[in-house]
């Protein structure tokens, strides 16, 4: 039942981004533990998503179309699939490739596999479908969004020697100032922090992960919302979980 503890009256404004920081923080805290309010929020987010369709339509100058195509032509095919591209944020696979800086020759195989994905123009989702990567090259573990962040998903790519890896996350809500996401690693019931990170406006992040003990030893991974800089142990809502 929806009771007075819920934040229903604030959800329409939350969906529009109109709450002040304190109100927003309170709503997010509640959302982390209330599936009923999360469902309500989704309904208002669906309304907000449609609002731009009601804008009075204006006709852009005819030159705009060609200007876009000209700019696209300057983004060379090579820069779309490798690291040469100029732009505010490197693409997922660029970052991944840059992050996986292990010296082991096996990384060449990783590079080939990832490049193949880019060349084919595949969606990020297909990363998990990379066809039978060599068992010795890397291990990919998928993390799924929890009820607190149902749109989120992530991949943990562990290097061949198991000592390092990269977390790639998408669909995570941007957090208010003073909060960050924190990665947690679990092995045999022992928990360790994998570092803190923030997402960009599109809900995307890629993070280099390194632990003193082999990363490959960890079987379970999770991400929670924590105060800026992280916590010694999870305190906030869990948004991603996976492993096995």
């Amino acid at each position: 039942m929806i009771g007075e503890r819920h934040v229903l009256e604030m959800l329409p404004a939350y969906a529009l981004g109109s709450l002040d920081a304190e109100e927003k923080s309170g709503v997010e805290e509640h959302l982390g533990e209330c599936p009923a309010c999360q469902r309500e929020l989704e309904a208002y987010q669906a309304v907000a998503a449609q609002l731009p369709l009601a804008v009075p339509l204006q006709t852009p100058p005819p030159r705009l179309r060609q200007a876009i195509l000209d700019r696209a032509g300057q983004v060379s095919p090579a820069s779309r699939r490798s690291g040469a591209r100029a732009g505010p944020r490197p693409a997922l696979l660029q970052r991944l490739g840059r992050s996986l800086r292990a010296p082991a020759p096996a990384w060449a195989l990783v590079g080939v596999a990832l490049l193949a994905v880019v060349l084919l123009g595949f969606n990020l989702v297909l990363l998990r479908q990379v066809a039978s990567p060599p068992a010795s090259a890397f291990r990919v573990i998928q993390l799924a969004g929890t009820d607190s962040a149902p749109q989120a998903s992530a991949w943990m790519v562990v290097s061949a020697d198991g000592r390092s890896g990269t977390l790639i996350a998408q669909g995570l809500p941007a957090l208010p100032p003073g909060q960050q996401y924190q990665l947690w690693l679990n092995r045999n019931g022992q928990r360790a922090s994998g570092g803190v990170f923030s997402v960009d406006a599109a809900g995307y992040a890629s993070e280099w992960v390194y632990t003193p003990v082999p990363l490959a030893d960890f079987k379970q991974f999770g991400v929670t919302v924590e105060p800026q800089g992280g916590s010694p142990a999870p305190t906030g809502a869990r948004v991603l979980a996976g492993g096995g």
């Binding site: 002040d20 339509l57 100058p61 876009i68 779309r80």
Partner: protein, 197 residues
């Protein structure tokens, strides 16, 4: 290409996105033909400056060209994703450059907008045009003061407090108007989705 240029006018979103992912500039051009007018209109609505709106529209399409993998159909339709990119980028620009648009536009498209009947309007899909009609009629049915706060919240990215300051209205009044506007829209759109599944 054997057989000459391919006509992409009838390509649906999925094929267009696949084409863009495959670095086909003709797919990017078709994507622009489908949604460029809307993207530009959203940016212009936020920025009230044609030159800046062009800049944002370019940035949105180049972002798509470079990183189409950021789009995931399970998170919403392409048109709303593109429109939100335009809105968010425009509001970022407003804030980053401390731009204050000349006055605050608070109007929405009204039900008599000629573009709704224009067969060459931005949406090649009839379904989207109908959806746009239903949305505009639902907004049209809101009291003017609710339309105004909704517009300032969405297109200017204003908080309750900022809207109250801009309109000279009490904070509580603004909160109530915004909440009622969203609740009524939700009801209207859910009702429409039942009668037009």
């Amino acid at each position: 290409m054997p057989g000459g240029p391919v006509n992409l006018d009838d390509w649906d979103d999925e094929r267009l996105i696949a084409g863009v992912a495959g670095a086909r500039t003709d797919a990017l051009a078709a994507l622009y033909d489908h949604y460029g007018r809307l993207i530009f209109s959203v940016a212009l609505r936020v920025l009230n400056d044609e030159s800046l709106a062009e800049e944002v529209t370019q940035d949105v399409f180049i972002q798509v060209w470079k990183k189409v993998s950021l789009y995931h159909p399970d998170q919403g339709r392409l048109v709303t994703w593109l429109a939100s990119l335009s809105r968010n980028r425009s509001i970022d620009l407003l804030r980053r450059r401390s731009i204050r648009p000349e006055g605050h536009q608070m109007s929405w498209a009204d039900g008599s907008s000629p573009d709704l009947e224009d067969p060459a309007a931005v949406e090649p899909e009839v379904e989207l045009r109908l959806e746009r009609q239903r949305l505009i009629r639902a907004i049209d049915a809101l009291p003017a003061e609710q339309q105004a706060v909704l517009s300032l919240a969405y297109f200017q990215g204003m908080s309750h407090q900022q809207i109250a300051g801009a309109l000279g209205e009490p904070l509580g009044t603004v909160k109530t108007r915004l909440r009622l506007a969203m609740q009524k829209l939700r009801q209207a759109l859910e009702r429409d989705s039942v009668s037009h599944p």
